[in-house]
């Protein structure tokens, strides 16, 4: 027991699509905007990944292993590192070598597969675990789904794959009066432990840190550690889950975010708070109750559901057309097509089609390479149409043999 803080950072970069016009259907085979993907990866590697990794490495060394963190790195991000910023992989390896870093499992292409096909979902998770093992030499035991999407059924599938714990959102409409600062279990299979994100304390760093209109600005590590202490007075663990890009990209270096990160462990430990990885937390803390989640939740937007990706008719249409190709892609038996199919499933493509401009629009537009959701839809459907033609050609070719 004791006072625990569990830090987990999400590392993901999408494979942005290039402009693909109707005239390109059947003529062009390259779908991705390599230039934008490389440029953005290089920028974020310099501003965030390399810098934050150095700080974390230094913190782990300084605290003799008492400071711990967890990462989930999407397969697309790992691929992009290998192509455009291999030194980032080296720096993650250095972190892995300390033994104080847990790497989590997810779907390799940051997809929404958990929402449509158990088979496809399992394939993608296995692929991701294999990638993590190959790069960092560890086998993930904790699972984190794309955008922390979770439901009882998804949890059951994850448990059946041998994972002992899963991360999700401490969504208010699920928890009600309950606190997110305890361990819960899956409602169907109690062997699967759940760690719930404390969205208030997480978003203080991820969203509000540099907001000068915020009453608590400027936030110091000292004040924040005090909040953690208050939250842990009678609770077990505060789960701080956020995008890794918070450091240096969403919150710019000038905001003092790196100084905050550097100072936080010492301030927290001075108050008797311990840093634990998700795997350790579920071993050390007892679950308090099962958690019923009938419909999928996520960490995104005010609704904490899947409406950021599947909230309007454009998104449902694009998603169902993409899902419908699953069997054909399997029949094509072509490694390249399969890999492209995975990339086309990245949740980001559907996120760009969101029409929720008003409530969480600022976040949506930050991440969005398109001017309107309609453009995103048209471009995606053009790519998908071309992809379908390629898949059908391949199947025909296979049958001809």
């Amino acid at each position: 027991m004791g006072k625990n803080v569990c830090l987990y950072f999400q590392v993901h970069q999408p494979d942005r699509l290039r402009q693909f016009r109707f005239f390109d259907i059947g003529n062009e085979t390259h779908y991705f905007d390599d230039f934008a993907n490389r440029t953005i990866m290089r920028r974020i590697a310099d501003r965030c990944y390399l810098r934050a990794n150095n700080i974390l490495l230094e913190l782990i060394r300084r605290n003799g292993g008492a400071f711990k963190v967890a990462f989930s790195i999407s397969g697309t991000a790992m691929e992009q590192f290998a192509l455009y910023a291999p030194e980032v992989i080296d720096s993650f390896r250095a972190l892995a070598a300390t033994g104080c870093v847990e790497f989590l499992a997810e779907t390799c292409s940051h997809s929404l597969a958990s929402l449509f096909s158990e088979k496809e979902f399992k394939k993608q998770v296995k692929e991701h675990s294999a990638m993590v093992h190959k790069l960092f030499g560890v086998k993930p035991v904790t699972f984190r789904n794309t955008e922390l999407i979770y439901s009882d059924a998804i949890g059951e599938t994850v448990a059946s794959m041998g994972f002992s714990a899963m991360l999700t959102e401490g969504a208010k409409h699920i928890l009600g009066w309950k606190s997110p600062n305890f361990i819960y279990t899956n409602a169907i299979n109690p062997r699967l432990k759940l760690l719930l994100r404390n969205f208030s304390l997480s978003d203080d760093i991820a969203f509000r840190f540099s907001d000068k209109g915020w009453a608590s600005w400027p936030l110091t590590a000292d004040i924040y550690a005090g909040w953690l202490e208050d939250a842990l007075r009678s609770d077990d663990v505060v789960n701080l889950f956020m995008d890794y890009e918070t450091f240096g990209e969403h919150q710019k270096a000038e905001s003092g975010i790196f100084d905050f990160l550097t100072a936080l462990p010492a301030e927290a430990m001075a108050r008797g708070i311990r840093f634990r990885t998700p795997g350790e937390v579920v071993r050390e803390c007892q679950p308090v109750a099962p958690l019923h989640v009938g419909f999928p939740i996520s960490w995104s937007d005010e609704e904490r559901d899947t409406s950021a990706w599947l909230g309007n008719e454009l998104q449902s249409e694009a998603f169902s057309k993409a899902c419908a190709l699953e069997k054909d892609v399997a029949r094509a038996k072509d490694a390249k097509l399969t890999s492209v199919y995975r990339k086309l499933q990245e949740s980001d493509h559907f996120y760009y089609m969101s029409t929720k401009f008003f409530s969480d629009g600022s976040v949506h537009s930050y991440f969005n390479p398109y001017d309107t959701p309609y453009e995103a839809f048209i471009n995606y459907m053009n790519v998908l149409s071309d992809f379908e033609i390629r898949v059908k050609e391949k199947i025909k070719e296979n049958n001809g043999k």
């Binding site: 005239f23 003529n27 454009l314 694009a318 839809f377």
Partner: protein
């Protein structure tokens, strides 16, 4: 002649029509001074290019070029007038570009025409300003007839008539009743004023003639129908390799209420239900209904077979025709509608609505009521499935289109001029 756009910088069919008409008039020995408002600096440059650079590409014979250039003079007027925008949208458009345009205006126009240097924030002001310029131009004289195209230029035509005392011919390419369900009373008033003041009114179809006579109360004796023609000279063939194995059915035009895009989508959904493989639909163009149409396509669940291209420019229009197997124009109200002719010229059979003016001159296009999506789906299906039908439609269609010459249409326009001058 007062117009508002000229190729290649065009938003609709009017620029193309003016181009063909001035060329045809030149062949008929009529000299034209073409006055047009220019919306931006970028348009200026593009039009300069028409005259300077496109000689070989646009005309077959050098002799022809010289003759044409000798007779058509361009005169540009700084103005915000933009076709196909109603006053409400216009205000919005102006607000966003106001600052930029203000400076541009100062640079180019203030000294010359001595305006206040302030750009009007509403379309009506622009129309009036254009009329003032028209008066100034008319004062120089040197012409026999004034010819004004569509309501934005009617006031200019009236002003020119009052200053010079020369007869006014107005050319109705569209009326306010064709533009949408809401008739703007101010626009209607201007249109009626133009028709009342005109010595002769030319309409592009009998459909439009009926509207002018019945809804505007104009004396039928002074309203003459001159059907548009098409000019394909100087059009080079585009190489377009067919990109999809399926047949392609195309809608090409502004995606607005007037053009009936939603009937096209509904008919497409029906055809796809009958034959889910082997056909794709393309909606090329942009407009205020585009987003609504995208949602409609998504709702029908056909977006993997239904594509949007956005606004097509230059060669892409040709390319689109070259990739198409059927062209559909389901317009709710179309005074004329030149694009089916372009399609037929490109060997693409056309399905057109009975509510279009072009239906009056075409025999070999399939005609359906715009609202009859079953008939539309039926026609699409037939052209896809029965090669004999599409073969006839292609061959006869091309002959038919070739017989529609601007020289002939321009001769009729010239006759209207003559009767206006003689006062008969």
């Amino acid at each position: 002649m007062f117009g508002w756009e000229f190729p290649p910088h065009i938003a609709g069919g009017l620029g193309t029509a003016c181009y063909g008409m001035t060329k045809g008039l030149a062949h008929n020995g009529v000299e034209v001074l073409f006055v047009m408002p220019s919306a931006s600096g970028d348009e200026d440059q593009s039009s300069v290019r028409i005259i300077n650079a496109s000689d070989v590409a646009v005309y077959d014979l050098r002799l022809d070029v010289d003759e044409f250039l000798g007779k058509v003079q361009f005169l540009r007027v700084g103005s915000n007038i933009h076709p196909y925008i109603d006053p409400e949208n216009f205000t919005e458009l102006v607000e966003t570009e106001r600052q930029y345009q203000k400076e541009e205006f100062r640079m180019y126009f203030r000294q010359k025409y001595k305006f206040s240097g302030k750009y009007g924030a509403n379309l009506m002001e622009e129309v009036s300003r254009y009329a003032m310029v028209a008066g100034a131009i008319a004062a120089d004289g040197g012409f026999d007839v004034i010819h004004a195209h569509d309501w934005l230029t009617y006031m200019a035509g009236i002003a020119a008539k009052r200053v010079s005392g020369k007869p006014l011919v107005i050319h109705v390419h569209a009326t306010e009743f064709d533009r949408g369900s809401n008739v703007n009373p101010e626009v209607y008033r201007l249109e009626k004023m133009g028709m009342d003041e005109a010595d002769k009114v030319i309409t592009v179809s009998n459909l439009t003639r009926n509207i002018v006579v019945n809804k505007y109360g104009i004396d039928p004796a002074k309203v003459v129908t001159v059907h548009n023609a098409v000019d394909f000279s100087g059009r080079s063939a585009v190489d377009a390799v067919r990109n999809v194995p399926e047949k392609v059915i195309t809608f090409l035009g502004r995606i607005t209420f007037q053009k009936g895009p939603e009937y096209f989508i509904e008919a497409a959904a029906k055809v796809l239900k009958m034959c889910p493989e082997g056909v794709r639909f393309v909606m090329a163009g942009s407009g205020d209904m585009m987003n609504r149409c995208i949602r409609q396509v998504a709702r029908r669940g056909i977006s993997d077979k239904f594509h949007f291209t956005g606004f097509l420019k230059g060669d892409d229009v040709q390319k689109m025709f070259a990739l198409s197997d059927v062209y559909v124009m389901p317009s709710v109200s179309e005074p004329f509608g030149i694009s089916p002719l372009e399609a037929m010229k490109s060997d693409v059979p056309a399905i057109i609505s009975k509510q279009s003016g072009v239906a009056e001159v075409l025999k070999y296009a399939i005609k359906v009521d715009f609202w009859d999506i079953d008939a539309l789906a039926d026609a699409m299906y037939a052209l896809l499935q029965y090669p004999a039908l599409s073969k006839v439609a292609i061959e006869k269609g091309r002959q038919e289109v070739d017989s529609l010459k601007w020289d002939n249409a321009a001769a009729k326009v010239k006759a209207v001029y003559e009767s206006a001058v003689s006062g008969k």
